[in-house]
């Protein structure tokens, strides 16, 4: 099918059709052309620390098994038996030496090889070559600072090329609070379904700071880590320059570029011990990272559907399509694995009251996304496109940090995102998907 993609998605003018948020055709094309190629977040190594550990995850609409084999190697398999398709593993997490299919009992080792085939001798001898019927495995897998990513496209560029300059921002999520690289662990996962198109959620995390008014209720009552005085978060960045950054691969985020001289702002004010811990981490991070420590995170979205919160709260959220107008969200909450227990406790409590379906902040997001989806489904509604014209052209390239950088609230991040999205749906090659034609920062870096 050929969809009139350029007519419906016009980032140049900042006009994008509602069709991409409601139509079954777009949904189908996304599954075929986007989710089969892009790098997707699958899980975290802290969920599978030992040989034989597995965690059942998703890529797009399909179930996958993240597994550490008996030799310690990490794999991602499609969770569907090669015989007649039964879901091989219906446990969320565990440890095993074999995945035994409930249907006819074919069994697979933790590296995906078909091992047991009942009555092999009498039924299959000489015909079935076990080697050819392993679990379907992702051709591309990359572990970055504990996070596991995979792509179904053997031709996909390596993960770090795919990330491009967005890696500096992702690092702010994954690195220890005191600046040591990596070191996070997952302390829990929310899973829920919401009747909205997945892109409403993804684009919200591209740095839609403009939607702040919809969170007025939490700011009024103060649910932040400092209690009454903290609005919904601590204001750690009072002296920083807010930046909204886009990258040619489709990633976008809202971060903060702190001034050359900046000091610690009290956070977690109702817990002196936690405040002290973060003061220590702050100073250490500055000492370790130098000028790089000036970059601090708010939210971002790594193309296509992995969003993050960088500090308060801290985690990765994957917006899995679940039909054209339904999304299944999986949020992985992160802390530094070696943080003191008292710190972890304060963080997890804050995460729970902020995030997800029970979170006082995000409930209002869910309400917006549901009714934006529903009221875009009508025949008349679909004739009228959405507006993405905020801050047209108001950005500088590689100034003061890599990427296309806006110093004001902008729709540049979603304009850029949907420009890349359109390229996937047109089946472009990887040079185009990576934006090599529009990648000044890469050229500058090489």
């Amino acid at each position: 099918m050929t969809l009139p993609i350029d007519q419906l998605i016009d980032p140049q003018r900042g006009i994008i059709s509602r069709e991409i948020f409601v139509s079954p055709e777009f949904h189908k094309e996304e599954l075929e052309k986007l989710f089969t190629r892009a790098w997707l977040f699958v899980g975290h190594v802290s969920q599978i620390p030992k040989p034989g550990d597995f965690y059942t995850s998703r890529m797009g609409e399909e179930s996958v098994i993240l597994c550490r084999d008996s030799r310690g190697e990490v794999h991602v398999f499609l969770n569907s038996c090669r015989h007649r398709g039964m879901k091989v593993c219906r446990y969320e997490q565990g440890n095993t030496s074999l995945f035994v299919c409930p249907y006819h009992s074919w069994s697979y080792t933790t590296d995906g090889k078909l091992q047991g085939v009942p009555l092999y001798r009498s039924l299959y001898e000489g015909v079935l070559n076990r080697e050819e019927w392993s679990l379907v495995e992702v051709p591309r897998l990359h572990i970055y600072k504990g996070t596991v990513w995979a792509s179904w496209d053997p031709e996909a560029p390596d993960f770090l090329t795919y990330l491009g300059g967005a890696v500096d921002h992702l690092d702010q999520v994954l690195d220890c609070r005191d600046g040591r690289p990596g070191g996070s662990e997952v302390i829990g996962v929310h899973k829920w379904v919401l009747p909205t198109n997945w892109k409403f959620a993804a684009e919200n995390f591209l740095g839609d700071t403009y939607h702040n008014p919809s969170h007025r209720s939490v700011d009024m009552i103060g649910i932040g880590p400092s209690g009454e005085k903290g609005a919904r978060r601590d204001n750690e960045y009072a002296k920083g320059q807010h930046v909204w950054v886009s990258f040619p691969q489709g990633h976008g985020m809202h971060s903060v570029w702190m001034p050359e001289e900046f000091g610690y702002q009290t956070t977690y004010a109702q817990y002196p011990e936690v405040d002290e811990y973060f003061r220590h981490c702050f100073e250490e991070r500055k000492r370790r990272q130098g000028v790089k420590a000036r970059l601090m995170p708010f939210t971002g979205n790594l193309f296509p559907n992995t969003s993050y919160h960088g500090r308060q709260p801290r985690g990765l959220c994957v917006w899995h399509p679940h039909g054209p107008t339904e999304t299944e969200a999986w949020r992985f909450f992160l802390v530094d694995a070696d943080a003191p227990a008292a710190v972890k406790d304060v963080l997890r409590r804050f995460y729970m009251r902020y995030s997800g379906p029970a979170g006082m902040t995000e409930q209002d997001d869910m309400e917006n996304w549901l009714y934006a989806t529903q009221s875009s489904m009508g025949t008349i509604a679909r004739r009228y496109p959405f507006n993405y014209q905020a801050s047209m052209g108001a950005y500088k390239t590689n100034d003061p940090i890599p990427g296309d950088v806006s110093m004001q609230i902008t729709d540049q991040t979603p304009r850029n995102y949907y420009r890349v999205y359109a390229r996937y749906l047109k089946g472009d090659g990887w040079d185009s998907l990576l934006g090599r034609d529009v990648a000044p920062m890469q050229a500058a870096a090489e």
Binding site: G188, I221, I223, R348, Q363
Partner: protein, 173 residues
């Protein structure tokens, strides 16, 4: 405790739980907060699909550890009430229509100061026009004697779902 005393106590507890449901469904949220003890623990775990034999150990997330749907105290619930009362908490503005059903009530443990009560809950939420959610599960409450009435000191809500089949948990349970 004699049988008659136990029956009377059970009747008293049932009345209390029905009164509580009335306050919530009647949107008297501040009055509802008055029924909560200052040291309240309000907990709803996330349920996981685990292998036979691992249910006790692994099926539910635990109070005091990691991430659950709710693992909070009276301060947080008070914030939730204040948020609804701002009139701009859009996930509850306009307010949902909610009915709390409580059944299968049993007294699990009785001490001079506290009673542990087991029950089932069925909470029906209808929102705006077409949004409908039914939350069903098991609940264990610890009620503390408070003069003529009771305070809720602990509430554990075992919701019978794995992936949450609702966009929000914006109501009180």
């Amino acid at each position: 405790m004699s049988t008659i005393e136990r029956l009377l106590l059970k009747q008293e507890i049932e009345d209390f739980l029905y009164l509580e449901a009335d306050l919530l469904d009647g949107r008297k949220f501040r009055d509802w907060l008055d029924l909560l003890a200052e040291d309240l623990v309000y907990f709803m775990p996330i349920r996981r699909n685990v292998k036979f034999g691992q249910h006790d150990e692994k099926e539910n997330t635990r109070q005091g550890e990691g991430i659950s749907w709710f693992d909070e105290d009276k301060w947080t619930l008070t914030k939730r009430v204040e948020q609804v009362l701002t009139g701009v908490h859009y996930a509850e503005e306009p307010l949902s229509r909610v009915t709390h059903m409580v059944s299968n009530i049993r007294l699990l443990d009785v001490t001079p100061t506290e009673v542990t009560v087991g029950c089932r809950f069925l909470v029906y939420q209808n929102r705006v026009e077409y949004e409908n959610y039914t939350f069903i599960g098991r609940r264990t409450d610890v009620l503390r004697r408070n003069g003529e009435s009771w305070l809720i000191a602990k509430r554990e809500l075992i919701l019978e779902q794995n992936v949450l089949l609702a966009k929000n948990l914006s109501i009180f349970f």
